[in-house]
Amino acid sequence: MALTREQMAQRVAQELADGYYVNLGIGIPTLVANYVPDDIDVMLQSENGLLGMGEFPTEEELDADLINAGKQTVTMATGASIFSSAESFAMIRGGHVDLTVLGAFEVDVNGNIASYMIPGKLIKGMGGAMDLVAGADNIIVTMTHASKHGESKLLSNCSLPLTGKNCIKKVLTDLAYLEIKEGKFHLLEYAPGVSIEQIQSLTEGELVISDNVREMKIA
């Protein structure tokens, strides 16, 4: 069974460690915040200039001057700091964020990622995504393994305009957790009830089955 969005977020959350500064993109990545293990503490970086993003505000706490990068009203966690956009991206570009989680349309065997534009159809802009993928060492891309029409999103070569080149090493899809290295996708984990054959058939780029491949554990 393909993972739900919530399950994908749960699996990503297992990659968190105590003391991590984390940037979560819009969509599934945002949900990761709901599954931080009880025994660890992470701080969420929001690229509009907030380190230590808290939960949504109550009606009483609502403040137009306090939003996240998704433009949602938020609160500050204890120990938060506020800074300018230039400082925020100094943090991101300078590699100070420990983990970045973001969505994509496509990734390929060379770690290229396309996530911001479908020519002629969708031009929302890249926002901070190009800086995030260029600045982070540790990135997890979350997306469905294939489109609704069964077209693989794990490719030999991205077909859409790139957000970043040679920068993605880990991908979590609704079917699998994969590592990208040496020009191949390495299957590390398959979702419960999903067969390796099914993953193989939906992975257009070269796929290697890791020696240690195992079934994904979702709490």
Binding site: T58, D65, G127, M130, A134
Partner: protein, 234 residues
């Protein structure tokens, strides 16, 4: 002793000197921390052919989006089109020239413009459409592209408090692009919620020193919320 008094009392005076085809750098992220009344004054003046440099372009009926309906904007440098339907329509139709710029690069271009740095290298955008036509260069085995700085004829920013000398303090995430924008205008105009006397702001806690600011005006703000997300009160 009046040489440092930057206070103006009308929005006409605040935006005096803005003429067609100028470049305006605007602070704000989404609808947060935007100089909403200065934008309204540009709409009122009807200035045309503007190049706008701003992370976003507001929404259809608020913020910089207000300048789209009368086609006052010829070109916009931004990182995100977002949910602004008229922006997307004018971009797709070619009525509006759009230079999509990564958010961090945009912030750094403004900072560099104000800081006398004509250009800098960044890995952001290397190997993507953003890097096309730009110089590529390797440092310590990694590839970067050259990005040039941005300056504006005007910079318009929103702060929380100012003193009459133009020292500015921002509030929470309404800071965003405002501090960099403030440094990058030939004429920088700040609108604020409160103006205090010099000496009332802690010198250690001023976000934008008054040297960058030419005019200050006190306004009242709608502060519209784009994504109203709340949790239940206990």
């Amino acid at each position: 002793m009046s040489g440092f008094n930057k206070v103006v009392t009308s929005y006409q005076a605040a935006m005096a000197g803005l003429t067609d085809n100028m470049t305006v750098i605007a602070g704000g992220f989404g609808l947060c921390g935007i100089p909403e009344n200065l934008i309204e004054e540009i709409k009122r003046k009807g200035t045309k052919g503007l190049t706008i440099v701003s992370n976003n372009c507001g929404v259809d009926d608020f913020g910089l989006g207000r300048l789209l309906s009368d086609h006052q904007i010829a070109k916009i440098v931004a990182s995100y089109v977002g949910e602004n339907a008229e922006f997307e329509r004018q971009m797709m139709s070619g009525e509006l020239e759009v230079e999509l710029t990564p958010q961090g690069t945009l912030a750094e271009k403004m900072r560099a413009g104000g800081a006398g740095i004509p250009a800098f290298y960044t890995a952001t955008g290397y190997g993507t459409p953003v890097g096309e036509g730009k110089e590529q260069r390797s440092f310590n085995g990694r590839d970067y592209i050259l990005e040039e700085s941005i300056r504006g004829d005007f910079a318009i920013v929103k702060a929380w408090k100012a003193d009459t000398y133009g020292n500015l303090v921002y509030r929470k995430t309404a800071r965003n692009f405002n501090p960099m924008a403030a440094t990058a205008g030939k004429i920088t105009v700040a609108e604020v919620e409160e103006i205090v006397e010099p000496g009332m702001l802690d010198p250690d806690q001023i976000h934008t020193p008054g040297i960058y600011v030419d005019r200050v005006i006190q306004g009242t703000f709608e502060k519209r919320i784009e994504q109203r997300t709340v949790r239940a009160s206990l």
